[in-house]
Amino acid sequence: MNAWLDSQQGYWKSWADLAQRGMKAPEAPKNPWADTVDQWWKSVSPMAPAPGRDVFDKLMDVSRGYFSLGERFFTQGQTGETGMEAVNGWLNGMQKMWTDWLQTGSQFRPDAMGKGFSTFWDLPLDTWQRLAANVMPMPGDFTHAYHPEGMGQPVRDQVNRFLSIPAVGYTRESQEQFQVLAQRQMDYAAAMQSYQMAFGKLAVETTRKFQEVMQKRVAEGKSISSLRELYDQWVEMSEAAYAEFVMTQEYQELYGRLVNTLLALKHHMARMVDQGLEAMHMPSHSEIRTLQCRQQETRRENLRLRKEIKAIQQQFESLRAQVLMSQAPQAEKPVRTVTTPVKKPGKSK
């Protein structure tokens, strides 16, 4: 174990040397520092036990962003920029990237810092995407393959017109089902796009607010002297901006629409699956639900009746005890014996 630890320390020292040299190499990889974290974890994770591996996976996600942030400042520091110039360059770059994305509606969300830091922006969406993937019957992470950003309104209108064409013929019912399915998919895609766009605007607002915070620090004579302090300040700003945004009416509507459209899609898919099962004379989900509902009602009735029977039994026992009590004194009353003295014959006064 000590030898392994020594090798780990050696790994990080070598990384530090290479990182410094690598930044100057003409063909340096795009995100070498974030890649380092990936490679290290790939070598170590097979040995990690299950309870901790999930936690370390999350730590690695954060570490990639953290190393990317450090890489940015290290690189710009080496070019002679001051810390503040590096921060402003970073923030301005992020603002421009998000603003451009919002304006052009390009197909892919921007990765503001390369591979690592995008995980930071994706945090609110990441778990939603996993949840959506689990809720849907399709294998894999369904929503990641879904890129609605490229579908502008004119395209959507065209598709909607196509889907509104009345179905005809013997298979018109199944055609209608597929039309509804496609419509629901588009509704969900549109809701997801609106949700992502809103977070893009939030990102722009967050970077702007962070610049204000830094200016305020100048006025107060405070400085940030470590990467960790910068990261913590960034998280604090992001949380404040996020908390403000998610309490707005706009967010309430976006979130409601996102959840409702996903579930409308799933509901329709489930109905189509049920129809398929019925066609194959197999039990369907709706039949099983009906049985479960009736079973639960029967159990409720059963429990209510048992409770009533128990109450009646208790009343009965109470009445029985009262009756026995009222009968008991007559049975136990002692018989009173009266003795009359017997007169002896012959003696009289």
Partner: protein, 354 residues
């Protein structure tokens, strides 16, 4: 003065130290062993469907309160939070305060349970648990301690069955579900709950996890793990962290019909406070005539203090006490300071009303 004073070599050193901490941390991770939860010995005294009623094994030499205390936890998350580790056990602290502690473990609902309603939970399961305890102890009433949603259930139970409750303690319990600072409530107002339940049946625990984590995503899904780095050298601290992680992600599915009513009646229509709530029978806070101790956390982001304080003046009892704790929704159970103040205060309050 520049607000940023970071030299490139200092950044490099910081990240090198980071990497070394990771290496050391993985060593401790490999030796961490099994993550156990629930430390106080207990015995199952009653089971029904997925539910288990536990009694925490009392110390035979200890002098205990005559009236047992039944802990009613939420359906969301698992109740071992109240007994998560040796030096962070609200259950143990309550027992040390002289209470004879029982706990309802609702279990993990599956698809066969999707038609369980709030009536089934409160007037069914919970009522039968109370009957079991009363029969075991030959008493007519129990003390109730409801936690979070469990506290809301306990309020409803006390309103519907005042003859079976002696004293009621609520912890981080929402009564007003529509305070202006309630993020969860704000988010669910436009959710079509009927569509959710009709589509999914039971609501996946994962969905609730995502919702809770998104209350503070950058802290709870990012920064928290960086903080872990500073404790990786300490195997005990690592184990405690992993224990909390296990609990956070251990969310049972929610029985569909119970979820439907809870979200619609409580969150969307706020009926517990405004009136009109029916759980088998009409529920009114004014019907709660037993003594009530309301414990809440000042920095609770899940159940804002005002959501809990709203109980004040709404109950039928004249004996109402509040106890606020300067911490968060979870800190009220696991922080060292909470362990020293909250359970003893609860024990003292109950003993005064024995």
């Amino acid at each position: 003065m520049m607000p940023l004073d970071m030299r490139p070599d200092a950044v490099m050193q910081e990240l090198m130290a980071y990497g070394q901490k990771l290496s050391h941390g993985v060593k401790n991770l490999m030796e961490v062993g099994e993550i156990s939860t629930g430390v106080t010995p207990k015995t199952a005294v009653y089971t029904e469907d997925k539910l288990t009623l536990f009694r925490f094994d009392p110390d035979p030499k200890a002098v205990m309160s005559r009236t047992p205390l039944l802990i009613v936890y939420a359906l969301v998350n698992r109740p071992y939070m109240t007994d998560i580790q040796e030096n962070r056990s609200t259950v143990k602290a309550l027992m040390d305060a002289g209470q004879d502690v029982y706990l309802v473990d609702w279990g993990y609902p599956d698809r066969a349970d999707c038609f369980l309603t709030l009536d089934d939970y409160i007037n069914g399961y919970l009522d039968r648990c109370v009957d079991v305890i009363c029969e075991r102890h030959r008493i007519d009433k129990v003390n109730l301690l409801g936690i979070c949603q469990g506290g809301t259930f306990s309020l409803c139970y006390a309103a519907l069955h005042p003859d079976k409750v002696k004293n009621l303690v609520t912890m981080v319990t929402p009564v007003d579900f529509q305070t202006p600072d309630n993020m969860l409530s704000h988010w669910v107002q436009q959710i079509d709950v009927d569509l959710v339940v009709d589509t999914l049946g039971n609501v996946p625990g994962e969905m609730l996890n995502w919702t809770f984590l998104n209350l503070k995503p950058y802290q709870l899904m990012g920064q928290k793990y960086l903080g872990l780095l500073d404790t990786l050298d300490d195997p005990e601290a690592l184990k405690n962290f992993l224990r909390m992680e296990k609990w956070i992600f251990d969310s049972p599915d929610q029985a569909g019909e119970a979820f439907r009513q809870f979200i619609k009646d409580f969150y969307q229509q706020n009926r517990l406070l405004k009136g009109g709530l029916v759980i088998g029978e009409p529920v009114s806070l004014k019907d709660i005539t037993v003594p009530v101790l309301n414990v809440f956390a000042e920095q609770d982001h899940l159940v804002p203090p005002d959501a809990s304080r709203a109980m004040r003046g709404q109950l039928g009892t004249q004996d109402y006490t509040e106890l606020s704790f300067p911490g968060g929704h979870i800190g009220i159970y696991v922080s060292g300071k909470a362990q020293k103040t909250v359970p003893p205060a609860i024990g003292k309050w109950l003993d005064a009303r024995e």
